[in-house]
C-alpha cells in the first residue's frame, strides 16, 4: 500500500510498542533465582519452577523459581527480622524509602508497562497510562502517610509481618496497593504475585534493592497456591491482605479463623452501571467502555450489569452497539488496541461457557462483527440483552468483556436491581441531576460509587467492598487502618461456658418475674419453650432466662433488618435516643447496681461504678453519633471523593460474662450510634441486666427492632448468627473456640467479624471505648463526584 492508498483509506495501521528493552531485561534475569528474600534473589528451596507466558501468543516468557512452604518460612523469617528496625525507623526515614521507590518506578515506567502487557495481555495503553502511573502515585502518596503516622494515628502500632496475595489482572498496581500502605505503617511484607503474572513483581523487587529498601522489609515470592496457602497459615504472619476471587477469599477466611490475624479481602463483584434518562448518554457509553471493556473486563469492579431507564433504553443500546463496533481487538502491544486477549485458556473457557449459559437462559448475546487474531485467548466484546435478574450473566462474575443489560422503570427499581446481588464492590450512576445521583449513591450497597464516571482509582481514596465483595479498604486514610493496630485492654482467657448447676434455693421471694427475649420491640417467649436457671453469687436462683434458639435469632435478625425507624433516623435523632437511654438508665441506677451486686458478687461500689460507666458510655456514643464523620478525599482531578461512614447494617453482638451490663452497653452503643441495628446475645451466665435493660429501651423512644435481645447459650447462638446470611457484622467476646467458629462460619456471606479471640476485655479501660469501636460499626463508602460545567 503506498501513501496515496493510505491517504484514501485513512486506517490507523499498526503502531507497535517496542519490546526490545523488555526482551533484553528478560534475557538478563536469572529467573532460576526469582524469589526475593531478605534483600537477595534466591532459588526455591526445592528448586521447583513454573512458566509464565504471553497470553497474546501463548509463548513462554520466563521460567521462574516457584516458592514453596520452606521459602515462605524463610521469607517470613526475613520479614520478622526486619520488622523491629523498620517499625522503629522514623516516619521520615520510611517516607524517604517510599518516595525513592516511587521515583525509581517512574524512571523505569515504560519497562514496567511493557512487561505488564507482555505478561498479562492488557493493552499497552492501559499499562502505560493507567496501571503504572497509579502504582507510582500509590508509593509517593503513601510516603506522606509514613511521615504523618504518629500525628494522624496516635497510639497505633504496625500490624507486624504482613502476608499479601495479589491477582493477575493488575499485577503491579495491586502490588502497589498492598505494599505501599504496609510499608508506610511500619509493617514488613511477604508478597506473592499471581502465578500468571509474576514479572513486574520481580522487576519491583530489583527496584527495592536499588531504592534502599532495607533487607527483609519487602519479600516477594513468585509461586502458586502452595505458597499462598503456606503464607496464609504461617504463624509468623499477623495480617493477611488478599485480592482475588470470592471463592479463595472464603477459604482464607476459614483458614485464618481463630488465628488472631488481621484480614482484608478484596474479592469479586457484579457492579451495576445505572443510566438514568437525563444522563449524558454518549458519555455514559464511554463510561461503559472504561467500565466493562477495560482490561478485557477482567476487573473486579467492572461495570458488568447495565441498568438503563426504559425511556432511553433503545437509544442507549443503539449507541452502545455502535461504539462496540469501534473497539479494536488485537495485539496488546499495539498502541491502537482497546481489547487484548484474556489472560489464559482457563479464563477464556470460563467466559465462553458463562456466555453460552446466559444465552441458554434467555439472554440475547450480541457481538460486533470483528476479526479475531488467530492466536491468543481473544474474546470479542459481548452485549447480553434481555437479561433477567435470575440469569447467570446477571448474578455471576464473568471476569470478561461481557455486559449484561437490563432496564428499570424508576429510581426505586434501579436501586433494587442494583442491590439485588451478593456482591457489593462498586457502582456507577449516570445522571445530570446532582440531586438524583446523591440520592441514589447512599442507597447502593457498594464500597465505591462513581457518579458520571467509572473505574476511577486513586491512592488517596479508599477502595473495597460491601457484602461478599470482601472487607477492608485500600487507599486513603481508611486503607492505612488495615495495617495498624490500636491496642485493646485484653485480659484473661475466657473459659468455655460450664453447665449451670442446679440452684439450691430461690434467691428472694418477691412476685415472680419472667425475663423474656426482646424482639422487634416486643417481649417474646423463646421459641423452644425452655428456660434456664440464672444463679446469683451465692448459687441461688436469681431467675430463669429464656433459652433462645436458631428460630429466635431468625426472628431477631428479621426485626433488625426491618428497623427502618432506626437505620433511617438522622444522626442527631440517634444521639437524642442514646442520651435518653442514659437518662432512663440513670433513673434506675440503684436497681441495676443491686442486680449486678447480687448476681456477680461485685461490691456495691463496684456495681455502682459499672452502672455509672455504662451511663457514661451511652453518653459518649450519643455524642459521637453525629461526629464520627466521613471525609472528603482529594484525588488528582477535578472531583471530590466523599468517604462516607455508613452503618454496617445488622450486627450480631455476643457478650461476655464479665461486666454483664457494661460489656453489653460498650458493644451496643457504638453500633447503635452509627445507625446499625443489633441482635445481642447477652452474658449467658448473667443475662438479667440485659433483660432488665429492655424495659429501659421501651421507655426511651428506641424504635422497634433497633435492639433485639436473645438470651441463651452464647456458643450456639453465635454460630447461628455467624451462619446467617442477612447478618452483616458480628462481634464476639467469648471463649476461643466460639470466636474461631464464628470467624470460620462467617465465610458464607463474608460478614465483618471482630472477636477478642477468646480473651476478656477490660471494659473499664478508656481504650475499650471510642474510635476503634465506631470504626468497626461503619463501612466506608467512597462516592466519586467529578464536577465541572
Amino acid at each position: 500500500m503506498n501513501i496515496l492508498d493510505r491517504y484514501h483509506a485513512m486506517d490507523y495501521g499498526p503502531a507497535p510498542e517496542a519490546r526490545a528493552e523488555a526482551d533484553a531485561w528478560l534475557a538478563a534475569q536469572d529467573f532460576s533465582r526469582a524469589l526475593f528474600i531478605g534483600g537477595k534473589f534466591v532459588a526455591a528451596a526445592d528448586a521447583k519452577t513454573f512458566d509464565t507466558a504471553d497470553p497474546a501468543s501463548g509463548k513462554r516468557l520466563a521460567t521462574l523459581s516457584e516458592a514453596g512452604a520452606a521459602d515462605v518460612d524463610a521469607a517470613v523469617a526475613a520479614a520478622k527480622r526486619a520488622l523491629p528496625g523498620w517499625s522503629a525507623a522514623s516516619g521520615y526515614a520510611r517516607a524517604k524509602v517510599l518516595y525513592a521507590v516511587g521515583r525509581a518506578m517512574q524512571r523505569h515506567a515504560r519497562l514496567f508497562a511493557v512487561l505488564e502487557t507482555l505478561d498479562n495481555g492488557k493493552p499497552i495503553r492501559e499499562s502505560r497510562d493507567i496501571d503504572v502511573p497509579l502504582a507510582i502515585r500509590h508509593f509517593i502518596h503513601h510516603a506522606g502517610w509514613a511521615q504523618a503516622l504518629d500525628r494522624e494515628f496516635p497510639g497505633a502500632k504496625p500490624a507486624g509481618v504482613v502476608g499479601q496475595i495479589i491477582p493477575w489482572n493488575f499485577p503491579l498496581l495491586m502490588l502497589a496497593w498492598k505494599i505501599a500502605p504496609a510499608l508506610a505503617a511500619g509493617c514488613t511484607v511477604v508478597l506473592k504475585p499471581a502465578e500468571y503474572t509474576p514479572l513486574t513483581a520481580v522487576l519491583f523487587a530489583d527496584i527495592c534493592r536499588r531504592a534502599g529498601v532495607p533487607k527483609g522489609v519487602v519479600n516477594i515470592l513468585p509461586g502458586g497456591p502452595e505458597a499462598g496457602a503456606a503464607l496464609v497459615r504461617h504463624s509468623g504472619v499477623r495480617k493477611i491482605a488478599f485480592t482475588g476471587s470470592s471463592e479463595v477469599g472464603r477459604i482464607i477466611r476459614r483458614e485464618t479463623a481463630g488465628s488472631g490475624k488481621k484480614l482484608s479481602l478484596e474479592l469479586g463483584g457484579k457492579s451495576a452501571f445505572i443510566v438514568f434518562d437525563d444522563a449524558d448518554l454518549d458519555s455514559a457509553v464511554e463510561g461503559l467502555v472504561d467500565g466493562i471493556w477495560f482490561n478485557q473486563g477482567q476487573v473486579c469492579c467492572a461495570g458488568s450489569r447495565l441498568l438503563v431507564q426504559e425511556s432511553v433504553a433503545e437509544a442507549f443500546i443503539d449507541k452502545v452497539k455502535r461504539r462496540m463496533t469501534k473497539l479494536v481487538l488485537g495485539d496488546p502491544l499495539d498502541k491502537n488496541t482497546d481489547i487484548g486477549p484474556l489472560v489464559d485458556r482457563t479464563q477464556f473457557e470460563r467466559v465462553e461457557s458463562l456466555v453460552a449459559e446466559g444465552a441458554s437462559e434467555g439472554a440475547l448475546c450480541w457481538q460486533p462483527d470483528m476479526a479475531l487474531p488467530s492466536a491468543g485467548f481473544f474474546f470479542p466484546p459481548t452485549l447480553a440483552l434481555g437479561v433477567s435478574p435470575a440469569n447467570v450473566l446477571a448474578r455471576e462474575e464473568v471476569f470478561g468483556p461481557v455486559l449484561a443489560a437490563m432496564t428499570f422503570r424508576d429510581t426505586e427499581e434501579a436501586v433494587q436491581l442494583a442491590n439485588n446481588t451478593r456482591y457489593g464492590l462498586a457502582a456507577s450512576v449516570w445522571s445530570e441531576n446532582v440531586n438524583l445521583t446523591l440520592h441514589v449513591a447512599p442507597q447502593l450497597k457498594a464500597g465505591v460509587v462513581w457518579v458520571n464516571g467509572t473505574n476511577m482509582f486513586d491512592a488517596a481514596c479508599g477502595f473495597g467492598g460491601f457484602r461478599e465483595s470482601g472487607f477492608g479498604r485500600e487507599g486513603g486514610r481508611e486503607g492505612m487502618l488495615e495495617y495498624l493496630d490500636r491496642p485493646l485492654p485484653y485480659g484473661a482467657a475466657i473459659r468455655p461456658a460450664a453447665p449451670v448447676e442446679q440452684p439450691a434455693e430461690l434467691a428472694e421471694a418477691a412476685i415472680d418475674r419472667t425475663p423474656k427475649l426482646f424482639i422487634g420491640g416486643r417481649q417474646a417467649r423463646p421459641d423452644s419453650g425452655y428456660s434456664y436457671a440464672v444463679l446469683d453469687r451465692k448459687g441461688r436462683l436469681a431467675g430463669e432466662a429464656g433459652l433462645g434458639n436458631r428460630k429466635d435469632i431468625r426472628e431477631a435478625v428479621s426485626a433488625a433488618r426491618a428497623a427502618k425507624g432506626w437505620t433511617e433516623a438522622t444522626a442527631f435523632n440517634r444521639a437524642q435516643v442514646l442520651y435518653y437511654l442514659a437518662e432512663n438508665l440513670s433513673a434506675r441506677a440503684d436497681e441495676f447496681a443491686s442486680r449486678l451486686a447480687s448476681l456477680t458478687g461485685a461490691s456495691g461500689r463496684a456495681a455502682e461504678a459499672e452502672v455509672e460507666l455504662s451511663i457514661e458510655r451511652l453518653f459518649l456514643y450519643a455524642g459521637m453519633a453525629d461526629k464520627f464523620e466521613g471525609r472528603a478525599h482529594q484525588p488528582p482531578m477535578r472531583a471530590v471523593t466523599l468517604a462516607l461512614n455508613e452503618p454496617v447494617g445488622v450486627i450480631g453482638i455476643v457478650c461476655p460474662d464479665d461486666s454483664p451490663l457494661l460489656g453489653l452497653v460498650s458493644l451496643l452503643a457504638p453500633a447503635l450510634a452509627m445507625g446499625n441495628s443489633v441482635v445481642a446475645v447477652p452474658s449467658p451466665r448473667w443475662p438479667l441486666p440485659a433483660t432488665d435493660l429492655y424495659q429501659v429501651f421501651e421507655t426511651s423512644d428506641l424504635p422497634a427492632g433497633a435492639v433485639n435481645i436473645v438470651t441463651g447459650k452464647a456458643a450456639e447462638l453465635a454460630a447461628v448468627l455467624a451462619k446467617h446470611d442477612d447478618v452483616d457484622g458480628l462481634w464476639v467476646v467469648a471463649d476461643a473456640a466460639t470466636c474461631a467458629a464464628a470467624e470460620a462460619q462467617s465465610a458464607g456471606n463474608l460478614k465483618r467479624v471482630w472477636t477478642t479471640n477468646g480473651r476478656t476485655l477490660d471494659w473499664t479501660a478508656e481504650s475499650a471505648a471510642g474510635e476503634t469501636f465506631l470504626a468497626r460499626a461503619v463501612e466506608v463508602k467512597n462516592v466519586w463526584v467529578p464536577y465541572g460545567d
Binding site: M1, N2, I3, L4, D5, R6, Y7, H8, A9, M10, D11, Y12, G13, P14, A15, R125, D129, D278, A279, D280, L281, D282, S283, A284, E286, G287, D290, E310, A313, E314, I317, D318, K321, R322, T325, K326, K335, N336, D338, L364, W366, L385, G386, A405, M406, T407, E432, N452, G453, R638, A639, P786, Y787, G788, D789
Partner: protein, 345 residues
C-alpha cells in the same frame, strides 16, 4: 424489554477507502442541510452534556489511537487537504493574500510530493479563508484550481453589527466570489437563551449565502459551558448551517478537544434525527501536525471515516501547514526539518 438487536447504520454505510467517499467533492454526492423548524423540545433533550466526562474522553481518545510511519504521512496529507488556509490579520494586504493563495496551490515542496508519491494527487488545502476585502483577490488567484474561497463575515469576530449590516456583508462577499461564508453568532444570544432570535438570524444568513456554503462560528471560548456549545450547535444546524465551527481564533480559548467532542456529538444527534450530514471545523490554535492528528482521530472515532473529507471537515489554520511540511520532510529524509526549508505563505 424493547431493545432492538440491530445497529442503525451510521452514517449510510461507506466502506473505508470507498472511491465515492474519497472523491466526494462538495456539491456532488452530499445533499445540503435544509435546516428544520426550531424544535425547542429537541433542543432541550440535548442539555445533558457532562463536561468532566467529555474531558476524560478527549484525553484518552488521543492516547487510544496512534498513527505511525506511512500512515502518519498519509494522515498528515489528509490534514493538508482538510485545511482552510487562513489569514485574518488587521494588517492583511492583497499581496499577502496572493502569497497565501500561491501556497495553497503548492502546499508541498515538489521534491517532497514526489518522494511521497503524491505529486499528481493535487493534495492541497480545501479553501483559503480571508476577510471580505481580499475575497476578489483570492478568487482571482485561485481561479480554476478548485480551491474554495471562504470569507469571514457578519462583523467577525464579535458579530455585534446590525443584522442588516451583517447580511449585507455576506451578500457582498458572495458577490465578490466567495463560495463559503464563515459567520459568527452574537454570543449574547446564547447566554440569554434567545434561541428563536439566534435561529432566525442564522436562517437569514443562510438565505443571504445563497449557493455559498454557510459555516457558523460559535465562538465556543465565549460560551462558558459545553452545554451552551451543544445547544448553540443544534440551533445552528436547525437553522441550516452546512458546517459548525468552533472559534474565530480571536477568543482567549480556542478550539479544544472536549468542546469539539460536544460539537461532533451534536452533529451525530442531528444526523440521527434528520439524516443530514453536517460539517465540522475546529479553528484557532491548531498549529502542530500532532494536534491535527488528534482531531482526525476524534472525528474518525466519533463520526466515522466519511467525515474525513473536505465537504465535512476543515481545519481553520494558518501556521499548521508549515509544521506538517516539516514532519513530512522528516518522514521522507529521516532528518528533522526546519521551517525555513519550506516556502512560507
Amino acid at each position: 424489554m424493547r431493545l432492538r438487536d440491530t445497529v442503525t447504520p451510521f452514517p449510510a454505510r461507506v466502506a473505508p477507502g470507498d472511491a465515492a467517499a474519497n472523491q466526494a467533492a462538495r456539491g456532488d454526492a452530499l445533499p445540503r442541510n435544509p435546516g428544520m423548524p426550531l424544535d425547542l423540545g429537541f433542543l432541550d433533550s440535548m442539555r445533558a452534556v457532562n463536561r468532566s466526562a467529555l474531558e476524560r474522553r478527549a484525553a484518552t481518545l488521543t492516547k487510544r489511537r496512534s498513527i505511525k510511519g506511512d500512515n502518519q504521512a498519509a494522515w498528515l496529507l489528509r490534514s493538508i487537504a482538510l485545511m482552510d488556509l487562513t489569514t485574518l490579520n488587521s494588517n492583511d494586504t492583497d499581496d499577502r493574500v496572493r502569497r497565501l493563495c500561491a501556497k495553497a496551490l503548492n502546499p508541498l515542496r515538489a521534491d517532497l510530493a514526489r518522494a511521497l508519491g503524491v505529486a499528481d494527487a493535487r493534495i492541497r488545502p480545501a479553501a483559503v479563508c480571508v476577510y471580505h476585502p481580499f475575497v476578489a483577490t483570492a478568487v482571482e488567484a485561485l481561479k480554476g484550481s478548485g480551491v474554495h474561497v471562504a470569507a469571514v463575515s457578519t462583523a467577525f469576530p464579535h458579530g455585534l453589527a446590525p443584522l442588516s449590516t451583517r447580511l449585507a456583508e455576506i451578500a457582498a462577499s458572495v458577490a465578490d466570489g466567495a463560495d463559503e461564508i464563515d459567520v459568527v453568532i452574537p454570543r449574547g444570544l446564547v447566554h440569554e437563551a434567545r434561541w428563536p432570535e439566534l435561529y432566525e438570524e442564522i436562517r437569514a444568513m443562510r438565505e443571504a449565502c445563497g449557493e455559498a456554503h454557510l459555516k457558523v462560528i460559535l465562538g465556543t471560548g465565549d460560551l462558558a459551558t459545553t452545554r451552551n456549545v451543544t445547544l448553540a450547535s443544534m440551533v445552528a444546524m436547525m437553522a441550516g448551517a452546512d458546517f459548525i465551527k468552533t472559534s474565530t481564533g480571536k477568543e482567549s480559548v480556542n478550539a479544544t478537544l472536549p468542546v469539539g467532542l460536544a460539537m461532533v456529538r451534536a452533529i451525530r444527534a442531528y444526523f440521527e434525527a434528520t439524516g443530514f450530514l453536517i460539517g465540522f471545523k475546529p479553528a484557532g490554535g491548531i498549529s502542530t501536525a500532532k494536534v491535527s492528528l488528534d482531531w482526525l482521530v476524534l472525528i474518525k472515532e466519533e463520526l466515522g471515516r466519511r467525515w474525513l473529507e473536505p465537504d465535512l471537515f476543515r481545519f481553520g489554520a494558518s501556521s499548521l501547514l508549515t509544521d506538517i511540511e516539516r514532519q513530512l520532510e522528516h518522514h521522507v529524509s529521516g532528518r528533522y526539518s526546519a521551517a525555513h526549508r519550506h516556502a512560507m505563505a
